[in-house]
């Protein structure tokens, strides 16, 4: 799997959508972590779930 890259403008957009106004320097600092997260999100999207995979939020508390 290749490492996804993300440019500064996209980082800025993502932060704004989430309600944050981070500086370009702060965004540059998180770029490696965001690229790592995108790699995991790609892997998540590749998991074969089938039709019956209902999401859980916690263990079946009794």
């Amino acid at each position: 799997m290749t490492t996804p890259s993300i440019d500064l403008e996209t980082l800025r957009h993502g932060a704004r959508l989430a309600g944050f106004a981070w500086s370009d320097a702060e965004l540059e600092e998180i770029r490696p972590q965001v690229e790592g997260a995108l790699r995991l999100l790609e892997a998540l999207e590749a998991v074969a779930l089938g039709d019956a995979a209902e999401p859980t939020t916690l263990y079946r508390t009794l």
């Binding site: 993502g14 932060a15 959508l17 989430a18 309600g19 944050f20 981070w22 702060e26 600092e29 998180i30 972590q33 965001v34 997260a37 995108l38 995991l40 999100l41 892997a43 998540l44 999207e45 998991v47 779930l49 995979a53 209902e54 999401p55 859980t56 939020t57 916690l58 263990y59 079946r60 508390t61 009794l62």
Partner: protein, 472 residues
């Protein structure tokens, strides 16, 4: 009683109940040990010396009056500094909360107090519990007590809990575990740490990292002591709607020492195969020891689903952590450890779709572990693939390739935060260099009794949990 600080909680409770030793002496011995060693270890953020001595004197008076409080009467313990304590600062390992003084105790703190336990102090941790290495730039990096020459990671995020218990600065402590934060420091520091089933122990009054993944539990020097603490903490709490109404069994009574006929699944693929050679050898030797006591061991292959655990965990933890920290990140960003701020900010790039998809994969992980346990009593695995790395190490070589150290440390523990199953780390051996190896036992939901029974049975057959680091 020179070595009273190495006594177990079980033994201290017995000595105090029979008036062989005063709780005041027990507390004083531990406070003296903290004063002598903690400048080097940096296990504590706050030491509650006067308050602990007052509590010990009250416990002594109650004992003389025949009104002992409970099974932990007069026994000291310490708390990871994310449990609310009335009148005592609860920092979460952050300078942002340095002046945060709760007005009431967390539910489990209240319950331990009702059982008679005496709080020694609040323990160092990774800032806001977000990391497995056990480092903290605000309160100092806790030192792993097993190496005097090299500054090694204690493991985190419950770093102070691991180091304090291993070094005799507390006979037991509480940690919290979102991806392994009880079991990782237990593994690296050579102690016993239990992450109970999600819903077994109240999280009310405990600072969250990720609500749906957070678990709280004991960190002690033996499975018997974890059983003692868990029995005092567990049970339904109306203040935490995720807690179960299932009755709390007598965990201590479950420690029969009998392992005959227990069915134990050895998690070989992904787990054992991913461990470094000394860890793999120790876990295989542990399986042989358990088999020698009559347990029936077979191999379990969950690699197919476990490979998705990292991808499922990240969106959940990142989203929930950012939800808690969003306001603080807007107003106090400069006061975070820059590395912790970077980890938190990543959550902004996870969508709702990813969060839900991660919860779907989480269900697959849970069902796979349930399936493996349908025909077995417990599963066996390494707790961490490596022993304690030096604090400046960034990458380690595992059994199946190179990995950054953070990912490596949480690789074997994180799946059971996703699934919610109870899991315990205990000392399973030592390397030739004298560093502890963590053995992990995973059980069925709400069957902590069997997990502890196996851990205690193993500790009756071995002396790894009884070894002590050389300090001072």
């Amino acid at each position: 009683m020179a070595d009273l600080f190495w006594s177990s909680m079980t033994e201290l409770a017995r000595l105090i109940a029979t008036k062989a030793v005063s709780p005041v002496e027990v507390v004083r011995v531990h406070l003296d040990r903290i004063a002598a060693l903690d400048a080097g270890l940096k296990a504590y953020i706050t030491v509650c010396g006067d308050r602990a001595l007052d509590g010990a004197r009250a416990a002594e008076a109650a004992l003389m009056a025949g009104t002992a409080a409970g099974p932990l009467h007069g026994v000291p313990y310490a708390l990871k500094d994310l449990y609310d304590t009335a009148g005592i600062a609860t920092t979460g390992g952050s300078r942002i909360f340095a002046q945060r003084v709760p007005v009431r105790d967390a539910t489990v703190v209240r319950r331990l107090g009702e059982a008679g336990a005496i709080l020694l102090g609040k323990l160092n941790m990774v800032e806001f519990a977000y990391g497995p290495e056990g480092l903290n730039i605000h309160y100092g990096h806790t030192r792993n007590p097993w190496d005097r020459a090299v500054h090694r990671m204690p493991g985190g995020s419950s770093s102070g809990s691991g180091a304090a218990v291993a070094a005799g600065l507390a006979p037991g402590a509480l940690g919290s575990d979102t991806g392994g934060s009880i079991r990782i420091p237990a593994s690296l520091c050579g102690i016993t740490g239990l992450k109970p089933t999600y819903g077994r122990v109240s999280r009310s009054g405990v600072l969250p990292l990720a609500w749906s993944m957070d678990h709280v539990g004991p960190m002690t020097r033996s499975a018997a002591d974890s059983a003692l603490m868990l029995g005092a903490m567990a049970g339904y709490d109306p203040a935490d709607p995720s807690t179960s109404v299932l009755p709390v069994p007598d965990y201590t009574a479950a420690l029969t020492g009998d392992l005959k006929g227990l069915r134990i699944g050895l998690l070989r693929t992904f787990f054992l195969d991913g461990a470094t050679p000394p860890v793999r050898a120790a876990v295989e030797a542990a399986a042989t020891t358990l088999a020698g006591a009559g347990a029936v061991i077979d191999d379990v292959d969950l690699a197919g689903v476990m490979r998705h655990a990292a991808a499922a965990s990240m969106p959940i933890v990142a989203s929930e952590a950012l939800a808690y920290h969003a306001d603080l990140l807007r107003t106090r960003a400069a006061d975070y450890d820059p590395e912790i701020a970077r980890r938190l900010r990543v959550g902004a790039y996870v969508t709702g779709m990813h969060y839900v998809r991660a919860q779907q994969v989480r269900a697959l992980v849970r069902d796979a572990v349930d399936g493996a346990l349908a025909r077995r009593d417990v599963l066996l695995a390494p707790s961490t693939p490596v022993v304690a790395p030096p604090i400046d190490v960034r990458e380690v070589m595992l059994g199946d390739g190179a990995s950054d150290v953070r990912s490596a440390l949480i690789r074997f523990t994180r799946p059971f935060n996703l699934s919610g199953h109870p899991a315990c780390s205990l000392p399973g051996g030592f390397t030739d260099g004298g560093l502890p190896v963590g053995l992990q036992i995973i059980g069925r939901p709400f069957d902590e009794a069997t997990v502890l029974r196996v851990a205690d049975g193993f500790q009756r057959l071995t002396d790894f949990h009884a070894r002590r680091p050389v300090l001072g």
